[in-house]
């Protein structure tokens, strides 16, 4: 067992008991859930918030004079305010709710593209992006005859910042990079990258799907122009997420979808659009899940970001140490600054084979290309095994994974 201990107030037993799913069994074994980068489990507080909304104040927002509509609107807008505070956004109207990071990036790629991108212009992304931060830009480039440029990655999973600087030209319109790589765990130096881009007056979008769940993010300190997030990766419900967008840019961007809520006045001669954020939220929003997301953030704040970061870092170090000690394992992504996820291969064993057997031991990891095919090509592999840890995971669970890995080796080698 590890000698790493966390601060007193961090009571792992109490925390685990907040997550009902963590006490279930899979294939007759206690669930070891190491697929947190795909989605995190939900604390009872989030589940209760959803039930409470549907049981006591379900109503459409922004348009009812009646009591329930007012309560629901206050709660929904309260969720927006919560996200603005979490991100330290200057104003709550700069928080747009969407279904998640993927929809956020698609919305921005469309609307920003309509406003600012023309034939021959350039968008910069990186070689370690999730498909969600590649394909929307490819679609934009196709539509506008623009050019996609890619920051290369070093062998250890760090971005090549010298090459990054050389990608800028007077045609560069936007940089879109991930905060944390979902496949390698690399924490990109986004503050530096944003500063560099701003030297060329180029706005920056950060894909924060893997960033926000792991630590404090301060939009104003970073200076980024867009920051996208997914609720379900930060202990909130599925189907809710959003992004921060700098108001000066949002004001110039046309709506993404038309419908109710996003309009000021509609006549058959023409329509005037509502102000941000409503301009980008056509139709009835996902009220319940926005409220659930607020409950998730409230919950995380009771634990404290410092404790979360500390525990997750300790888990990362312990797992890395155990995998290295085990031998016959190749870790893919060895950047010095990593979030709590490890991509690895057991030498000579296909990740799918290993993952299948681990599942029979109740251990949930992810196998495959992690929606990063170009990155897998870069490393000449078809996929990896990925264990991603949350603060609710334990060192004993890592020990269980190691025991299962030894069984896998016995079976296949």
């Amino acid at each position: 067992m590890s000698t790493l201990v966390v601060n007193e107030p961090f009571d792992i037993t109490a925390i685990r008991s907040d997550f009902p799913i963590l006490s279930i069994e899979v294939n007759g074994k206690p669930l070891v859930y190491f697929d947190n980068a795909a989605t995190t489990q939900k604390p009872q507080q989030v589940i209760d918030a959803l039930v409470d909304y549907y049981s006591h104040y379900n109503s459409n927002v922004h348009r009812g004079v009646h009591h329930l509509s007012q309560v629901a609107t206050d709660a929904y807008e309260g969720a927006r305010l919560k996200m603005a505070k979490l991100l330290n956004a200057p104003s709550a109207s700069e928080i747009i709710f969407t279904r998640g990071t993927t929809e956020s990036i698609n919305l921005i790629a469309f609307s920003f593209g309509e406003a600012f991108v023309n034939e021959g212009d350039e968008i910069i992304i990186s070689a370690i992006e999730h498909h969600s931060n590649i394909v929307p830009w490819q679609m934009l480039c196709l539509r506008k005859k623009a050019v996609l440029k890619v920051i290369p990655v070093h062998d250890n999973g760090e971005l090549d910042l010298e090459a990054y600087q050389e990608l800028f030209s007077n045609r560069t319109k936007l940089v879109a990079v991930g905060h944390i790589s979902n496949a390698l765990g690399t924490i990109n130096p986004i503050a530096d990258m944003i500063r560099m881009a701003h030297k060329y007056s180029v706005p920056v979008l950060i894909d924060g799907a893997q960033g926000l769940p792991h630590g404090r993010v301060d939009i104003q300190a970073l200076g980024c122009d867009f920051y996208c997030f997914s609720g379900h990766k930060m202990y909130g419900p599925t189907g809710i997420g959003g992004f921060y967008g700098r108001i000066e840019l949002l004001d110039q961007m046309p709506p993404y979808q038309g419908g109710g809520e996003m309009i000021k006045e509609v006549t058959f001669a023409g329509t005037t659009f509502n102000d941000v954020p409503y301009k980008f939220e056509a139709g009835t929003p996902n009220i319940a899940d926005a409220i659930g997301l607020k409950a998730a953030v409230d919950y995380l704040e009771t634990i404290s970001w410092e404790a979360i970061e500390k525990q997750e870092h300790a888990l990362l170090l312990y797992a890395t140490e155990q995998l290295i000690r085990e031998g016959g394992i190749t870790i893919i992504g060895t950047a010095p600054d990593k979030a709590s996820l490890i991509s690895f291969l057991i030498d000579g064993i296909h990740p799918l084979d290993a993952g299948t057997i681990l599942d029979h031991f109740g251990i949930a990891i992810r196998t495959g290309n992690h929606c990063t095919q170009p990155l897998m090509d870069r490393f000449c592999i078809t996929g990896t095994m990925r264990a991603s840890f949350s603060f609710y995971n334990t060192f004993e669970e890592i020990d269980s994974m190691m025991t299962a890995i030894q069984k896998v080796k016995q079976m296949f080698l």
Partner: protein
């Protein structure tokens, strides 16, 4: 032996295993020991794409029956692919088209044929049936 007979035989074979590990060890042995596809046939056009494990499938029709060969880079997938190939090879296009492959469920490997596994086996069965349909059509045109 009909396809149904072969399926019955496999079901009987698998009832001998006490636990899941024995079953997997057997499949792993199948995947490891049996030479499957000729290296020459591991071509891009024989590759079933979009899956976590790569699966190759090739078919030959002698005018009467189809013989399949297949392979995979993942051992469990290869072992199960081997069972599929063994079951359907040597049968006529009509027999293959009618086969329900219910044995996979009965031997407790259904999870491996779910689309969420994305191991290529679902596509492999589809592809085997497509070969049968194609050869059947071709044969009827030549007749």
């Amino acid at each position: 032996m009909t396809i149904a007979d072969k399926e019955e035989q496999l079901i009987n074979e698998f009832t001998l295993f006490d636990d899941w590990m024995d079953k997997y060890n057997y499949i792993i042995d199948l995947g490891k020991s049996l030479p499957m596809i000729d290296e020459k046939l591991k071509t891009e056009s024989n590759l079933i794409k979009g899956c976590q494990s790569r699966v190759w499938l090739s078919a030959e029709f002698d005018g009467k029956v189809i013989n399949f060969t297949g392979d995979s880079d993942a051992v469990i997938t290869k072992g199960i692919a081997n069972l599929l190939v063994r079951t359907l090879s040597g049968h006529t296009p009509d027999e293959i088209l009618e086969a329900d492959m219910g044995f996979v469920d009965k031997i407790g490997l259904k999870e491996h044929l779910s689309p969420t596994r994305s191991n290529g086996l679902v596509s492999m069965i589809k592809q085997m049936k497509l070969y049968a349909l194609a050869y059947k059509t071709k044969a009827s045109l030549n007749a």
